[in-house]
């Protein structure tokens, strides 16, 4: 692959210094020798902020990939800043530290951060709820955010299945995550095994959020359906923000989406 995706936003005025005044909950320098400690610290903060177990793991992986990128392909060191807001956890990984002590050549090199598929950002895009990279002369700042669930107790995970017009509708309620994705995978597996040529509608209207395990379970379900050439699956009523996540993760093309279960049923039962 010769095509390099290079991301730089020069002179945007949104460098490391220009952040919304709030002091970070965590501000920690790192280099190649301290990534283990960085991961442990980020896990503790993510968990304390209210992220689920699966989402905390995702946060740790995302931050690690960005920090490792700064160590391996940037200045060799950097800083992590972490904020917790009521609705999200946000992290910035600043390549080279971007402080007044090392404004020299290192920071200038870091301003051009080549983002290649092998360099971790691709994975970060798939797991974080938001990801961005900005460069200006003071350094490169990569930011990720992870959404926190509603403070109210979320709806417990539930699967309901019903048959309609020769199709099976599987309604997913609650969080599709590390804790529930096994049950979801098993249910889809049973449906596939029971009916060759399965026509499956996943009704996602009551899905609250997912983590990387939930997203992986959806991908796996689609792959298993695709193995049976006569089987089909449509993901219906996916809440807008999650549909957006799917597009940003570059995964939307792997699925067939529909706005309603009725539309999904029509698509599955119409000839051709």
């Amino acid at each position: 692959m010769t095509d390099r995706a290079r991301m730089e936003v020069a002179g945007s005025g949104q460098g490391a210094a220009a952040r919304d005044g709030e002091p970070p909950a965590l501000d920690q320098a790192f280099d190649g020798d301290s990534l283990f400690a960085l991961r442990a610290t980020v896990a503790a903060h993510g968990s304390r902020a209210g992220l689920s177990e699966g989402r905390t793991r995702d946060l740790v992986l995302a931050v690690h990939e960005l920090a490792a990128n700064a160590v391996r392909h940037g200045a060799g060191q950097g800083r992590l800043r972490l904020w917790t807001a009521p609705d999200r956890v946000r992290c910035e990984v600043i390549d080279g530290g971007a402080d007044a002590e090392s404004p020299g050549a290192e920071a200038a090199d870091a301003a051009l951060w080549h983002v290649e598929p092998g360099h971790g950002l691709w994975l970060v895009r798939r797991i974080a709820d938001g990801a961005s990279v900005q460069s200006d002369p003071s350094g490169t700042v990569a930011a990720v955010s992870f959404r926190l669930g509603t403070p109210r107790r979320p709806a417990p995970f539930r699967l309901d299945r019903r048959a309609e017009g020769g199709c099976t509708i599987l309604t997913v309620t609650g969080q599709l995550d590390l804790g529930s994705s096994g049950e979801f995978g098993a249910a889809v597996g049973e449906l596939i095994a029971a009916a060759p040529g399965l026509r499956l509608v996943l009704d996602m209207s009551a899905l609250t959020w997912w983590d990387s395990s939930g997203l992986a379970a959806l991908i796996t379900a689609q792959q298993r359906i695709s193995h049976d050439r006569s089987a089909r699956m449509i993901v219906a009523c996916l809440p807008g923000p999650l549909a957006g996540r799917l597009r940003e993760a570059g995964l939307a093309s792997q699925f067939t989406l529909a706005d309603s279960t009725a539309a999904a049923l029509t698509a599955l039962t119409s000839p051709g």
């Binding site: 190649g32 992986l61 990939e65 490792a68 391996r72 092998g118 096994g182 990387s212 395990s213 991908i219």
Partner: protein, 216 residues
């Protein structure tokens, strides 16, 4: 002169009391055969997993080991007893280690407080435990290279791996992809790291089998 031959070992079956005696009889016969053919010595490797089978049982182990130690005394025969560290408990291993003149750990590619990479005998492959990132790519690459030299399917046991970063996950997937057609790499994950492999596309890759405790 060195001769290598694969001899079917004694079968451990239903008759508990006979097992230990039969194994010793087999070993003595092999020793005699080698002497007769003029070989100066004999080396035997034994996979000790048989002792985990319900009908034979770990309780026979000390007796077996004691018998072997007695038979070997003063001879030029050496027996290598292979114990799988994941399947035998530490107490049993400590008990039987007394009968051995020497003990060797399984091929270990890396071992420190945060990460252990070692060979796994059954099923054949490698085992990773702890946390791994790009800084340990070198021992991982060596372990994978050696595992690939085994025949047949290989397993990368990651059930005790708490963290794996994108670059190591990719290295494992690439190694699996490079394997000859007809061979399979089983990626045995815990649920927490399985998603990373799915997101890297390993779920739909020829020659790669992704399993975790979730799966039935």
């Amino acid at each position: 002169m060195i001769g290598v031959r694969q001899v079917p070992g004694p079968r451990y079956g239903l008759d508990r009391s006979a097992d230990h005696g039969r194994a010793m009889g087999w070993l003595t016969a092999q020793m005699a055969a080698c002497r007769q053919e003029g070989f100066p010595g004999l080396r035997v490797a034994v996979d000790m997993s048989w002792a985990l089978r319900p009908v034979t049982g770990v309780e026979q182990l000390p007796e077996f080991e004691e018998g072997v130690a007695a038979a070997l005394a003063g001879s030029t025969v050496s027996v290598l007893c292979q114990y799988d560290r994941e399947r035998f408990d530490p107490v049993t291993l400590a008990t039987v280690s007394a009968f051995h003149t020497r003990s060797v750990a399984a091929a270990t590619y890396h071992a420190d407080a945060t990460l252990r990479i070692c060979r796994q005998y059954a099923p054949p492959g490698i085992r990773l435990a702890g946390e791994i990132d790009y800084q340990h790519a070198e021992p991982l690459a060596l372990a994978l290279t050696e595992a690939i030299r085994f025949d047949g399917d290989i397993t990368v046991n990651m059930t005790a791996l708490a963290f794996i970063d994108g670059s190591c996950a990719r290295m494992i997937v690439d190694a699996a992809r490079g394997l000859a057609e007809g061979r399979t790499v089983v990626l045995h994950c815990n649920p927490g790291i399985k998603a990373t492999f799915v997101l890297l596309g390993a779920g739909d890759m020829a020659g790669v089998k992704l399993v975790s405790e979730h799966d039935r």
